[in-house]
Protein backbone atom coordinates (compact mmCIF):
# COMPACT_ATOMS: atom_id res chain seq x y z
CA UNK A 1 0.00 0.00 0.00
CA UNK A 2 2.63 2.40 1.15
CA UNK A 3 4.85 1.21 -1.64
CA UNK A 4 2.12 1.74 -4.19
CA UNK A 5 1.50 5.27 -2.99
CA UNK A 6 5.18 6.09 -3.18
CA UNK A 7 5.28 4.71 -6.68
CA UNK A 8 2.39 6.89 -7.79
CA UNK A 9 4.01 9.88 -6.16
CA UNK A 10 7.32 9.35 -7.87
CA UNK A 11 5.54 8.82 -11.17
CA UNK A 12 3.74 12.11 -10.66
CA UNK A 13 6.99 13.70 -9.70
CA UNK A 14 8.59 12.32 -12.83
CA UNK A 15 5.78 13.72 -14.98
CA UNK A 16 6.04 17.07 -13.33
CA UNK A 17 9.79 17.10 -13.67
CA UNK A 18 9.73 16.27 -17.35
CA UNK A 19 7.10 18.93 -17.95
CA UNK A 20 9.25 21.42 -16.12
CA UNK A 21 12.25 20.36 -18.18
CA UNK A 22 10.23 20.84 -21.33
CA UNK A 23 9.03 24.23 -20.10
CA UNK A 24 12.52 25.42 -19.30
CA UNK A 25 13.88 24.06 -22.56
CA UNK A 26 11.16 25.87 -24.48
CA UNK A 27 11.86 28.98 -22.43
CA UNK A 28 15.55 29.02 -23.20
CA UNK A 29 15.01 28.22 -26.85
CA UNK A 30 12.25 30.80 -27.36
CA UNK A 31 14.23 33.48 -25.52
CA UNK A 32 17.26 32.90 -27.71
CA UNK A 33 15.04 32.90 -30.80
CA UNK A 34 13.27 36.11 -29.88
CA UNK A 35 16.61 37.82 -29.39
CA UNK A 36 18.33 36.34 -32.41
CA UNK A 37 15.56 36.98 -34.95
CA UNK A 38 15.62 40.79 -34.57
CA UNK A 39 19.41 40.86 -34.32
CA UNK A 40 19.92 38.83 -37.49
CA UNK A 41 17.23 40.85 -39.23
CA UNK A 42 19.03 43.98 -38.14
CA UNK A 43 22.40 42.77 -39.35
CA UNK A 44 21.18 42.02 -42.88
CA UNK A 45 21.78 45.29 -44.71
CA UNK A 46 18.56 46.71 -46.13
CA UNK A 47 18.19 48.20 -49.56
CA UNK A 48 18.83 51.89 -49.23
CA UNK A 49 15.37 53.31 -49.23
CA UNK A 50 14.09 56.79 -49.71
CA UNK A 51 15.05 57.87 -46.22
CA UNK A 52 18.58 56.63 -46.61
CA UNK A 53 21.45 58.88 -47.30
CA UNK A 54 23.70 61.25 -45.63
CA UNK A 55 26.88 62.76 -46.82
CA UNK A 56 27.14 63.82 -50.40
CA UNK A 57 24.56 62.73 -52.88
CA UNK A 58 25.00 62.85 -56.63
CA UNK A 59 21.84 64.45 -57.97
CA UNK A 60 22.75 64.85 -61.61
CA UNK A 61 25.13 66.41 -64.03
CA UNK A 62 25.29 69.75 -65.76
CA UNK A 63 23.80 67.93 -68.74
CA UNK A 64 20.60 67.40 -66.74
CA UNK A 65 20.65 70.96 -65.48
CA UNK A 66 22.19 73.09 -68.23
CA UNK A 67 23.15 76.71 -67.78
CA UNK A 68 20.19 78.89 -66.85
CA UNK A 69 18.09 75.96 -65.83
CA UNK A 70 16.90 74.62 -62.50
CA UNK A 71 15.47 71.34 -61.35
CA UNK A 72 13.81 69.96 -58.24
CA UNK A 73 15.55 66.83 -56.94
CA UNK A 74 15.12 64.67 -53.85
CA UNK A 75 17.72 64.84 -51.11
CA UNK A 76 16.90 62.13 -48.66
CA UNK A 77 13.21 62.78 -48.47
CA UNK A 78 13.32 66.53 -48.91
CA UNK A 79 12.81 68.26 -52.21
CA UNK A 80 15.70 70.53 -53.16
CA UNK A 81 15.89 72.90 -56.09
CA UNK A 82 19.23 72.97 -57.87
CA UNK A 83 19.94 75.88 -60.22
CA UNK A 84 22.73 76.43 -62.70
CA UNK A 85 23.12 80.21 -62.42
CA UNK A 86 25.73 82.52 -63.96
CA UNK A 87 27.31 82.68 -60.50
CA UNK A 88 27.60 78.92 -60.30
CA UNK A 89 25.46 76.06 -59.06
CA UNK A 90 23.16 76.92 -56.16
CA UNK A 91 20.70 74.78 -54.23
CA UNK A 92 17.87 75.59 -51.83
CA UNK A 93 15.19 73.73 -49.97
CA UNK A 94 12.33 73.54 -52.47
CA UNK A 95 9.66 73.90 -49.82
CA UNK A 96 8.13 77.36 -50.05
CA UNK A 97 8.23 79.22 -46.74
CA UNK A 98 4.67 80.46 -47.29
CA UNK A 99 2.40 77.41 -47.27
CA UNK A 100 4.82 74.61 -47.96
CA UNK A 101 4.27 74.20 -51.70
CA UNK A 102 7.14 72.86 -53.76
CA UNK A 103 8.82 75.65 -55.70
CA UNK A 104 9.83 75.43 -59.34
CA UNK A 105 12.27 77.03 -61.72
CA UNK A 106 10.91 79.83 -63.90
CA UNK A 107 13.28 79.73 -66.85
CA UNK A 108 11.64 82.71 -68.51
CA UNK A 109 12.19 85.09 -65.60
CA UNK A 110 15.29 83.24 -64.30
CA UNK A 111 13.80 83.14 -60.82
CA UNK A 112 12.61 80.52 -58.37
CA UNK A 113 8.83 80.54 -58.51
CA UNK A 114 6.33 79.10 -56.10
CA UNK A 115 3.40 78.23 -58.35
CA UNK A 116 0.85 78.37 -55.56
CA UNK A 117 0.84 82.07 -54.76
CA UNK A 118 3.43 83.46 -57.10
CA UNK A 119 6.21 83.80 -54.54
CA UNK A 120 9.46 84.67 -56.27
CA UNK A 121 12.90 83.92 -54.89
CA UNK A 122 16.38 85.00 -55.86
CA UNK A 123 18.22 82.02 -57.39
CA UNK A 124 21.55 83.20 -56.00
CA UNK A 125 20.56 83.87 -52.39
CA UNK A 126 17.13 82.31 -51.91
CA UNK A 127 15.83 85.72 -50.75
CA UNK A 128 12.20 86.62 -51.32
CA UNK A 129 11.77 88.96 -54.27
CA UNK A 130 8.00 89.14 -54.40
CA UNK A 131 4.88 87.52 -53.13
CA UNK A 132 3.67 86.22 -49.82
CA UNK A 133 6.58 84.03 -48.57
CA UNK A 134 7.66 85.36 -45.17
CA UNK A 135 11.24 84.05 -45.25
CA UNK A 136 13.94 83.13 -47.74
CA UNK A 137 14.49 79.55 -48.89
CA UNK A 138 17.15 77.88 -46.73
CA UNK A 139 20.26 77.05 -48.75
CA UNK A 140 21.49 73.49 -49.20
CA UNK A 141 25.23 72.86 -49.56
CA UNK A 142 26.04 72.02 -53.16
CA UNK A 143 29.27 71.32 -54.99
CA UNK A 144 30.27 70.73 -58.58
CA UNK A 145 32.94 68.25 -59.60
CA UNK A 146 33.64 68.31 -63.31
CA UNK A 147 30.09 67.84 -64.52
CA UNK A 148 28.66 66.13 -61.49
CA UNK A 149 26.48 68.00 -59.04
CA UNK A 150 26.62 66.85 -55.43
CA UNK A 151 24.31 67.93 -52.62
CA UNK A 152 25.38 67.87 -49.00
CA UNK A 153 28.67 68.94 -47.53
CA UNK A 154 31.94 67.54 -48.76
Amino acid sequence: MALGLKNVQSKENGNRRSFLKWLLGFGIFSTIASVLIPVIGYLIPPERGSTAGGGRVLVGTTLDIPFGMGKVVQLGNKPVIVINTPQGITAFSAICTHLGCIVDWDAERQLILCPCHDGLFNPQTGAVIAGPPPAPLPPVPVSLEDEEIYLGEA
Binding site: Y42, P46, G53, G54
Partner: protein, 358 residues
Amino acid sequence: MNDQVIDRPTSLAQRVIDWMDERYELRSLLDAMLHVYVPREAKTFYLGGITLFLFFMQASSGILLTLYYQPTPDTAYNSVLFITSDVSFGWLIRSVHAWGANLMIVACVLHLLRVFFQGAYKRPREITWVLGVFLLFITLGFGFTGYLLPWDQRAFWATTVGTESAGAVPVIGDFLLNFIRGGATVSDVTLTRFFGIHTLVLPVSLAAVLLVHIVLIHQHGLANPKKPAGQVKPDEEPGIPFFPHYILDEAIAWYIVLAVLVILASLFPAGLEAKANPLETPAHIKPEWYFLSLYQFLKLVPRTVGVLTPVAAAPLLILLPFLDRNPEVAPAKRPRMIAAGVLLLLAITILTVWGHFS
Protein backbone atom coordinates in the same frame (compact mmCIF):
# COMPACT_ATOMS: atom_id res chain seq x y z
CA MET B 1 28.99 10.98 -3.17
CA ASN B 2 32.02 11.16 -5.41
CA ASP B 3 31.79 7.54 -6.42
CA GLN B 4 28.20 7.96 -7.45
CA VAL B 5 29.05 10.90 -9.66
CA ILE B 6 31.77 8.99 -11.43
CA ASP B 7 29.54 5.98 -11.92
CA ARG B 8 26.79 7.97 -13.60
CA PRO B 9 26.88 8.16 -17.38
CA THR B 10 28.07 11.70 -17.98
CA SER B 11 26.36 14.11 -20.37
CA LEU B 12 28.16 16.02 -23.08
CA ALA B 13 28.02 19.24 -21.09
CA GLN B 14 29.42 17.48 -18.10
CA ARG B 15 32.26 16.08 -20.19
CA VAL B 16 33.13 19.52 -21.58
CA ILE B 17 33.22 20.97 -18.08
CA ASP B 18 35.38 18.10 -16.91
CA TRP B 19 37.72 18.61 -19.82
CA MET B 20 38.05 22.29 -19.06
CA ASP B 21 38.34 21.68 -15.35
CA GLU B 22 41.18 19.23 -15.83
CA ARG B 23 43.18 21.92 -17.54
CA TYR B 24 42.08 25.20 -15.96
CA GLU B 25 40.59 24.18 -12.63
CA LEU B 26 37.49 26.12 -13.42
CA ARG B 27 35.27 24.32 -11.00
CA SER B 28 36.93 25.75 -7.94
CA LEU B 29 36.66 29.22 -9.43
CA LEU B 30 33.00 28.70 -10.26
CA ASP B 31 32.35 27.26 -6.82
CA ALA B 32 34.00 30.25 -5.22
CA MET B 33 31.91 32.58 -7.34
CA LEU B 34 28.58 30.87 -7.04
CA HIS B 35 28.49 29.00 -3.79
CA VAL B 36 28.01 31.94 -1.53
CA TYR B 37 25.02 32.69 0.67
CA VAL B 38 22.68 35.60 0.82
CA PRO B 39 21.44 36.58 4.29
CA ARG B 40 17.82 35.63 4.73
CA GLU B 41 16.97 39.16 5.82
CA ALA B 42 18.64 40.80 2.83
CA LYS B 43 16.11 42.59 0.63
CA THR B 44 17.88 43.75 -2.49
CA PHE B 45 14.78 43.99 -4.69
CA TYR B 46 17.24 42.68 -7.31
CA LEU B 47 17.98 46.27 -8.29
CA GLY B 48 21.72 45.86 -8.67
CA GLY B 49 21.22 42.83 -10.86
CA ILE B 50 18.59 44.65 -12.92
CA THR B 51 21.02 47.50 -13.49
CA LEU B 52 23.64 44.99 -14.57
CA PHE B 53 21.16 43.32 -16.93
CA LEU B 54 20.22 46.69 -18.42
CA PHE B 55 23.89 47.50 -18.89
CA PHE B 56 24.27 44.32 -20.93
CA MET B 57 21.17 45.24 -22.94
CA GLN B 58 22.59 48.71 -23.55
CA ALA B 59 25.98 47.37 -24.51
CA SER B 60 24.58 44.88 -27.02
CA SER B 61 21.98 47.21 -28.53
CA GLY B 62 24.58 50.01 -28.58
CA ILE B 63 27.07 47.84 -30.45
CA LEU B 64 24.36 46.99 -32.96
CA LEU B 65 23.53 50.68 -33.44
CA THR B 66 27.15 51.57 -34.23
CA LEU B 67 26.93 49.26 -37.25
CA TYR B 68 24.79 51.83 -39.05
CA TYR B 69 25.31 55.06 -37.12
CA GLN B 70 27.54 57.75 -38.62
CA PRO B 71 28.84 60.37 -36.18
CA THR B 72 29.02 63.46 -38.41
CA PRO B 73 26.53 66.33 -38.38
CA ASP B 74 25.66 65.79 -42.04
CA THR B 75 25.03 62.12 -41.76
CA ALA B 76 24.13 61.43 -38.12
CA TYR B 77 20.51 62.42 -38.51
CA ASN B 78 20.01 60.53 -41.74
CA SER B 79 21.74 57.44 -40.42
CA VAL B 80 19.47 57.41 -37.38
CA LEU B 81 16.49 57.92 -39.68
CA PHE B 82 17.79 55.05 -41.79
CA ILE B 83 18.13 52.79 -38.76
CA THR B 84 14.68 53.69 -37.53
CA SER B 85 12.74 53.43 -40.75
CA ASP B 86 14.70 51.27 -43.21
CA VAL B 87 16.74 48.70 -41.31
CA SER B 88 14.58 45.77 -40.28
CA PHE B 89 14.14 45.77 -36.51
CA GLY B 90 16.25 48.93 -36.45
CA TRP B 91 13.38 50.70 -34.69
CA LEU B 92 13.42 47.94 -32.07
CA ILE B 93 17.15 48.11 -31.41
CA ARG B 94 17.05 51.90 -31.21
CA SER B 95 13.94 52.01 -29.03
CA VAL B 96 15.33 49.34 -26.71
CA HIS B 97 18.52 51.38 -26.43
CA ALA B 98 16.61 54.61 -25.73
CA TRP B 99 14.23 53.06 -23.20
CA GLY B 100 16.96 50.91 -21.70
CA ALA B 101 18.92 54.08 -20.94
CA ASN B 102 15.99 55.49 -18.99
CA LEU B 103 15.30 52.26 -17.15
CA MET B 104 18.98 51.86 -16.33
CA ILE B 105 19.06 55.24 -14.66
CA VAL B 106 15.87 54.43 -12.76
CA ALA B 107 17.28 51.08 -11.62
CA CYS B 108 20.61 52.64 -10.71
CA VAL B 109 19.00 55.36 -8.58
CA LEU B 110 16.63 52.91 -6.88
CA HIS B 111 19.61 50.66 -6.16
CA LEU B 112 21.40 53.59 -4.56
CA LEU B 113 18.33 54.45 -2.48
CA ARG B 114 17.98 50.85 -1.35
CA VAL B 115 21.60 50.77 -0.22
CA PHE B 116 21.20 54.13 1.47
CA PHE B 117 18.06 53.30 3.43
CA GLN B 118 19.37 49.90 4.47
CA GLY B 119 22.66 51.42 5.57
CA ALA B 120 24.45 48.91 3.38
CA TYR B 121 27.19 51.40 2.53
CA LYS B 122 28.69 51.28 6.00
CA ARG B 123 31.88 49.65 7.08
CA PRO B 124 33.28 47.50 5.55
CA ARG B 125 31.48 48.38 2.28
CA GLU B 126 32.62 52.01 1.90
CA ILE B 127 34.56 51.51 -1.31
CA THR B 128 31.71 49.54 -2.85
CA TRP B 129 29.48 52.59 -2.28
CA VAL B 130 32.04 55.00 -3.68
CA LEU B 131 32.37 52.90 -6.83
CA GLY B 132 28.61 52.60 -7.03
CA VAL B 133 28.20 56.37 -7.03
CA PHE B 134 30.81 56.56 -9.77
CA LEU B 135 28.78 54.03 -11.72
CA LEU B 136 25.71 56.25 -11.36
CA PHE B 137 27.66 59.26 -12.63
CA ILE B 138 28.98 57.25 -15.57
CA THR B 139 25.43 56.14 -16.34
CA LEU B 140 24.24 59.76 -16.28
CA GLY B 141 27.18 60.59 -18.55
CA PHE B 142 25.94 57.93 -20.96
CA GLY B 143 22.52 59.54 -20.92
CA PHE B 144 23.89 63.00 -21.54
CA THR B 145 26.29 62.10 -24.34
CA GLY B 146 23.92 59.64 -25.99
CA TYR B 147 21.13 62.18 -26.16
CA LEU B 148 23.02 64.30 -28.69
CA LEU B 149 23.82 61.50 -31.12
CA PRO B 150 20.55 61.45 -33.16
CA TRP B 151 21.35 65.09 -34.05
CA ASP B 152 17.74 66.19 -34.22
CA GLN B 153 16.40 69.49 -32.90
CA ARG B 154 15.67 68.12 -29.46
CA ALA B 155 19.09 66.50 -29.16
CA PHE B 156 20.91 69.58 -30.33
CA TRP B 157 19.11 72.08 -28.15
CA ALA B 158 18.92 69.94 -25.03
CA THR B 159 22.68 69.57 -25.31
CA THR B 160 23.11 73.28 -25.89
CA VAL B 161 21.07 74.08 -22.79
CA GLY B 162 22.71 71.29 -20.80
CA THR B 163 26.27 72.32 -21.59
CA GLU B 164 25.47 76.00 -21.18
CA SER B 165 25.31 75.62 -17.40
CA ALA B 166 28.95 74.53 -17.33
CA GLY B 167 29.77 78.10 -18.37
CA ALA B 168 28.46 79.38 -15.05
CA VAL B 169 31.19 77.70 -13.03
CA PRO B 170 33.34 80.52 -11.65
CA VAL B 171 36.83 81.12 -13.06
CA ILE B 172 37.05 78.05 -15.28
CA GLY B 173 33.50 78.31 -16.67
CA ASP B 174 34.47 79.40 -20.16
CA PHE B 175 37.25 76.88 -20.39
CA LEU B 176 34.94 74.13 -19.17
CA LEU B 177 32.24 75.03 -21.65
CA ASN B 178 34.76 75.07 -24.47
CA PHE B 179 36.21 71.79 -23.26
CA ILE B 180 32.88 69.98 -23.13
CA ARG B 181 31.63 71.28 -26.45
CA GLY B 182 34.99 71.20 -28.15
CA GLY B 183 34.33 74.77 -29.25
CA ALA B 184 32.19 77.77 -28.46
CA THR B 185 28.97 76.15 -29.63
CA VAL B 186 27.55 72.68 -30.06
CA SER B 187 28.98 71.62 -33.41
CA ASP B 188 30.45 68.76 -35.41
CA VAL B 189 33.32 68.62 -32.91
CA THR B 190 30.86 68.17 -30.05
CA LEU B 191 29.20 65.33 -31.91
CA THR B 192 32.38 63.32 -32.51
CA ARG B 193 33.50 64.10 -28.98
CA PHE B 194 30.25 62.86 -27.47
CA PHE B 195 30.28 59.83 -29.74
CA GLY B 196 33.78 58.89 -28.64
CA ILE B 197 32.91 59.37 -24.99
CA HIS B 198 29.65 57.47 -25.34
CA THR B 199 31.00 54.46 -27.20
CA LEU B 200 34.57 54.17 -25.91
CA VAL B 201 35.44 56.16 -22.80
CA LEU B 202 32.30 55.49 -20.77
CA PRO B 203 31.80 51.80 -21.60
CA VAL B 204 35.40 50.99 -20.73
CA SER B 205 35.24 53.04 -17.51
CA LEU B 206 31.91 51.53 -16.55
CA ALA B 207 33.08 47.99 -17.19
CA ALA B 208 36.24 48.51 -15.13
CA VAL B 209 34.48 50.13 -12.17
CA LEU B 210 31.66 47.62 -12.39
CA LEU B 211 34.09 44.71 -12.23
CA VAL B 212 35.68 46.02 -9.02
CA HIS B 213 32.21 46.85 -7.62
CA ILE B 214 31.08 43.26 -8.15
CA VAL B 215 34.30 41.73 -6.85
CA LEU B 216 33.93 43.80 -3.68
CA ILE B 217 30.30 42.70 -3.26
CA HIS B 218 31.44 39.14 -3.66
CA GLN B 219 34.12 39.61 -1.02
CA HIS B 220 31.69 40.99 1.56
CA GLY B 221 28.57 39.15 0.67
CA LEU B 222 25.32 41.03 0.86
CA ALA B 223 24.73 43.27 3.85
CA ASN B 224 22.24 42.37 6.54
CA PRO B 225 19.77 45.24 6.81
CA LYS B 226 18.95 44.39 10.42
CA LYS B 227 22.36 44.29 12.05
CA PRO B 228 25.57 46.26 11.60
CA ALA B 229 28.28 44.23 9.87
CA GLY B 230 30.28 43.82 13.09
CA GLN B 231 27.43 42.06 14.87
CA VAL B 232 26.75 39.45 12.21
CA LYS B 233 28.38 36.18 13.21
CA PRO B 234 29.75 34.23 10.26
CA ASP B 235 27.81 31.00 10.78
CA GLU B 236 24.84 32.32 12.66
CA GLU B 237 22.58 31.44 9.76
CA PRO B 238 23.56 30.00 6.42
CA GLY B 239 21.10 32.18 4.49
CA ILE B 240 19.86 31.46 0.98
CA PRO B 241 22.28 29.93 -1.51
CA PHE B 242 23.25 32.51 -4.12
CA PHE B 243 23.18 29.77 -6.70
CA PRO B 244 20.68 28.69 -7.75
CA HIS B 245 18.07 30.26 -5.49
CA TYR B 246 18.99 33.91 -5.59
CA ILE B 247 20.05 33.75 -9.25
CA LEU B 248 16.68 32.27 -10.12
CA ASP B 249 14.83 35.16 -8.53
CA GLU B 250 17.18 37.52 -10.30
CA ALA B 251 16.42 35.83 -13.63
CA ILE B 252 12.70 36.27 -13.05
CA ALA B 253 13.29 39.95 -12.33
CA TRP B 254 15.30 40.27 -15.55
CA TYR B 255 12.53 38.70 -17.56
CA ILE B 256 10.05 41.17 -16.09
CA VAL B 257 12.34 44.10 -16.97
CA LEU B 258 12.76 42.66 -20.46
CA ALA B 259 8.98 42.52 -20.82
CA VAL B 260 8.69 46.16 -19.72
CA LEU B 261 11.39 47.11 -22.19
CA VAL B 262 9.67 45.27 -25.05
CA ILE B 263 6.32 46.86 -24.26
CA LEU B 264 7.78 50.37 -24.03
CA ALA B 265 9.83 49.96 -27.20
CA SER B 266 6.88 48.59 -29.18
CA LEU B 267 4.20 50.98 -28.02
CA PHE B 268 6.35 54.10 -27.67
CA PRO B 269 9.20 53.71 -30.14
CA ALA B 270 11.98 56.28 -30.17
CA GLY B 271 11.01 59.13 -32.46
CA LEU B 272 13.02 61.64 -34.38
CA GLU B 273 12.36 65.36 -34.68
CA ALA B 274 13.53 67.62 -37.47
CA LYS B 275 17.24 67.67 -38.18
CA ALA B 276 19.25 69.91 -35.85
CA ASN B 277 19.25 73.51 -36.97
CA PRO B 278 21.63 75.76 -35.03
CA LEU B 279 19.79 78.83 -36.33
CA GLU B 280 16.34 77.94 -35.08
CA THR B 281 15.67 77.45 -31.38
CA PRO B 282 12.51 75.46 -30.78
CA ALA B 283 10.14 76.49 -28.00
CA HIS B 284 10.22 74.66 -24.66
CA ILE B 285 13.66 73.09 -24.72
CA LYS B 286 14.17 70.85 -21.76
CA PRO B 287 16.81 68.32 -20.86
CA GLU B 288 15.94 64.68 -20.23
CA TRP B 289 13.87 63.98 -17.13
CA TYR B 290 16.85 62.84 -15.07
CA PHE B 291 18.45 66.26 -15.43
CA LEU B 292 15.20 68.16 -14.93
CA SER B 293 15.61 68.67 -11.18
CA LEU B 294 19.04 70.16 -11.75
CA TYR B 295 17.72 72.27 -14.61
CA GLN B 296 14.84 73.59 -12.51
CA PHE B 297 17.20 74.28 -9.61
CA LEU B 298 19.43 76.29 -11.96
CA LYS B 299 16.44 78.38 -12.96
CA LEU B 300 15.52 79.16 -9.35
CA VAL B 301 18.83 80.19 -7.84
CA PRO B 302 21.66 82.42 -9.08
CA ARG B 303 23.64 80.64 -11.78
CA THR B 304 26.86 80.31 -9.84
CA VAL B 305 25.07 78.87 -6.81
CA GLY B 306 23.05 76.59 -9.05
CA VAL B 307 26.12 75.16 -10.70
CA LEU B 308 28.25 74.93 -7.60
CA THR B 309 25.63 73.14 -5.48
CA PRO B 310 25.77 69.88 -7.46
CA VAL B 311 29.54 70.24 -7.74
CA ALA B 312 29.68 70.43 -3.94
CA ALA B 313 27.01 67.78 -3.44
CA ALA B 314 28.73 65.14 -5.56
CA PRO B 315 31.71 64.67 -3.21
CA LEU B 316 29.30 64.54 -0.26
CA LEU B 317 27.44 61.70 -1.95
CA ILE B 318 30.65 59.91 -2.88
CA LEU B 319 32.15 60.24 0.57
CA LEU B 320 28.92 59.47 2.43
CA PRO B 321 30.27 56.26 4.11
CA PHE B 322 33.18 58.26 5.54
CA LEU B 323 31.00 61.15 6.70
CA ASP B 324 28.31 59.02 8.30
CA ARG B 325 30.16 57.37 11.20
CA ASN B 326 27.05 55.99 12.88
CA PRO B 327 27.51 52.19 12.69
CA GLU B 328 23.76 51.47 13.00
CA VAL B 329 21.96 50.26 9.88
CA ALA B 330 18.33 50.00 10.99
CA PRO B 331 16.47 53.15 9.81
CA ALA B 332 14.91 53.66 13.25
CA LYS B 333 18.34 53.98 14.80
CA ARG B 334 19.60 56.67 12.43
CA PRO B 335 16.62 59.03 12.11
CA ARG B 336 18.63 62.10 11.11
CA MET B 337 20.29 60.43 8.14
CA ILE B 338 17.01 58.93 6.97
CA ALA B 339 15.25 62.28 7.36
CA ALA B 340 17.98 64.02 5.36
CA GLY B 341 17.72 61.38 2.65
CA VAL B 342 13.92 61.61 2.47
CA LEU B 343 14.04 65.40 2.37
CA LEU B 344 16.59 65.41 -0.43
CA LEU B 345 14.61 62.83 -2.36
CA LEU B 346 11.45 64.88 -1.89
CA ALA B 347 13.20 68.05 -3.04
CA ILE B 348 14.54 66.33 -6.16
CA THR B 349 11.13 64.86 -6.92
CA ILE B 350 9.39 68.21 -6.51
CA LEU B 351 11.98 69.96 -8.66
CA THR B 352 11.64 67.30 -11.35
CA VAL B 353 7.85 67.55 -11.43
CA TRP B 354 8.05 71.35 -11.36
CA GLY B 355 10.60 71.30 -14.14
CA HIS B 356 8.37 69.01 -16.16
CA PHE B 357 5.34 71.26 -15.93
CA SER B 358 7.07 74.63 -16.10
